[in-house]
């Protein structure tokens, strides 16, 4: 993308004039921050998140000594990078499955974000860890949603619980727990239909599923390519359901993925996994440092700084 590798270059330009100065002045920092702001907006970080972030980083950067080993440009990038990592939280790719059996995981999110695929991926992961998962088809809306889950289940040899598309989804969820108990299943993974965060009725349906089965994990599945609206979506799902974490999908694309930062900023919930492909093995833990570099458009920030 346009600004992909260029934040560093642009910052070099800003700082060219001030070689040899001992301290960064307010004016220098402000100029640099304008470039950082553009880079973050181009990465789809939400406008308001960017504003607050810039304010806080400006404060941090002000008056700092220019370290001898770094040019001012690299120093600013380093500060920005570190602050981004801090905001995005630590590595928390573990599922908290609690102590009751079966543990329950529920996937929620907008239409097409990757919920059903993520159900398959998690089941695959858990199975490899020696668990005995069950996939539960609570999407009774989308054409062939149940079939899709069944095909995925068959691929990884995980059973799929369905009661067709005519039964109330909270009842299906509840029945799946009974089934799990009598079939030696230790983790139940519930697929739900995609829905808009402003669709009151459908959001209420999720609340009813939640109340019926008390999930250990409610994971918001969000598309990494989401733009400015990510904050509205994430905060609505979180307010309604008190989600426990996020799965960010389609990171195998070339999006900068600023939505990650927006979602984290508004929900304060950890991003636990990222989807990096359509296959059921294409899931990875979330690494905040990699995400920060990606958002800044520089896979090589760290090496750049180390070399300086």
């Amino acid at each position: 993308m346009m600004a992909f590798e260029s934040l560093s270059e642009r910052l070099q330009g800003v700082f060219k004039k001030l070689r040899g100065k001992g301290k960064l002045t307010e004016k220098d920092i402000k100029e640099a921050m304008r470039e950082v702001k553009v880079a973050l907006l181009e990465a789809d970080v939400n406008f308001k998140v960017v504003k607050d972030f810039i304010n806080s980083v400006t404060e941090k950067a002000l008056g700092q000594e220019v370290m001898e080993s770094l040019t001012p440009a690299q120093q600013v990038i380093k500060i920005v990078h570190e602050e981004l990592i801090k905001l995005m939280g630590s590595v928390e790719s573990r599922l908290n499955l609690g102590s009751k059996v079966p543990a329950v995981i529920m996937m929620v999110g907008l239409q097409g974000s990757g919920k059903t695929t993520a159900c398959g991926k998690l089941a695959n992961l858990l199975k490899k860890q020696g668990k005995n998962p069950l996939l539960v088809a609570c999407d009774t809306v989308r054409p062939a949603a149940i079939k899709q889950l069944q095909v995925l289940g068959a691929n990884i040899n995980v059973p799929v619980f369905t009661m067709g598309d005519k039964v109330d989804t909270a009842d299906i969820a509840k029945a799946s727990i009974d089934y799990a108990k009598s079939h030696n299943v230790d983790v139940v993974i519930i697929d739900t239909a995609g829905r808009l965060h402003i669709d009151d009725e459908l959001m209420e349906e999720l609340v009813r599923i939640k109340e019926a089965v008390h999930p250990d994990e409610i994971l918001l599945v969000a598309d990494a390519m989401t733009g400015q609206d990510a904050v509205n979506v994430a905060s609505s799902f979180n307010e309604r359901l008190d989600i426990t974490g996020v799965i960010l999908t389609k990171l195998d694309g070339d999006t900068r993925g600023g939505a990650a930062l927006s979602i984290k900023a508004v929900t304060q919930k950890p991003i636990k996994y990222v989807g990096i492909g359509e296959k059921l093995g294409d899931i990875e833990p979330f690494y905040p440092d990699r995400m920060a570099s990606r958002i800044l458009g520089m896979g090589d920030v760290l090496t750049l700084i180390e070399k300086a």
């Binding site: 993308m1 346009m2 553009v38 907006l41 181009e42 990465a43 789809d44 406008f47 308001k48 998140v49 504003k51 607050d52 972030f53 304010n55 806080s56 905001l87 907008l110 239409q111 097409g112 974000s113 990757g114 809306v141 989308r142 054409p143 062939a144 949603a145 079939k147 899709q148 069944q150 095909v151 995925l152 691929n155 808009l196 965060h197 402003i198 598309d223 390519m225 989401t226 733009g227 400015q228 609206d229 990510a230 904050v231 509205n232 979506v233 905060s235 389609k250 195998d252 694309g253 070339d254 999006t255 900068r256 600023g258 939505a259 900023a265 508004v266 359509e278």
Partner: protein, 295 residues
Amino acid sequence: MLNFLQKFKENLTAKLNEVLSFGKKVDEELFEELEEALILADVGVDTTYKIIQSLKQKTKEEKIFEASKVRELLAQEIYEILQKDVEPFVLTSPMVILIVGVNGVGKTTTIGKLAHLYKKQGKSVMMVAADTFRAAAIDQLEVWAKRVNCPIIKHQEGSDPASVVFDGLQSAKARGIDVVICDTAGRLHNKKNLMEELRKIRKVIDREYSEARVETFLVLDATTGQNALQQAKIFKEVADITGIILTKLDGTAKGGIVIAIKEELNLPIRYIGIGEGMEDLQAFDAKSFVSAIFQ
């Protein structure tokens, strides 16, 4: 830090009305707030700056000192970008419509809606299930074919999509079908082999059915941010995109990136998706889109 949630909930409309209300002055602050509204609609930094620059110049030239007039100017500006050099879409017969896009944007659903629309207009429609990759994609399209009551050509999951298209075209020709709509698997534009597969499908259509007009619609999800521009660029190179369909505008996303796409790549927006039902598709109307951006 980041305790902006409260602020954020303020209605953008209320704010904009305030920004652009009668008697307010045209100053730097006003332009900054307009800029913010555009960025929040996913218009993107570059295009936003361009629009604001042009707005600044016009207000100066035309000696506009009142914020309310700026609203008209801004709407006009965006409208012009969207309408410039756009020929209206005409449904001819025979026509082949190839539907492409990244994963999960709404391709298959849109095909159901389009088929329904064209049938209502008295055309005979056939669907071709050339997404042979995603789990149950064929079943999904079949449900739509039943719903709108049109024939569907399909092979087994995992088969070669280009040969499904080949079969579909032969069958459509034999039956004298007016509009053939081909579903394809979702693919990220940065995956070379999948884009090559698309190129191949496109070639089959051009070769096998040269009498038909071919429309290739790129489906974009309105919630997508700046990456949509990249999607449009690369799909245009590979599949010769003739129009955009913008889905999921029934949410709160604005889909403003299509303004940048129109401005940079000159791709017209043809339809918008506003729900999951058969009727939830509308021909794109630049005027109402522009006003929706500022709602």
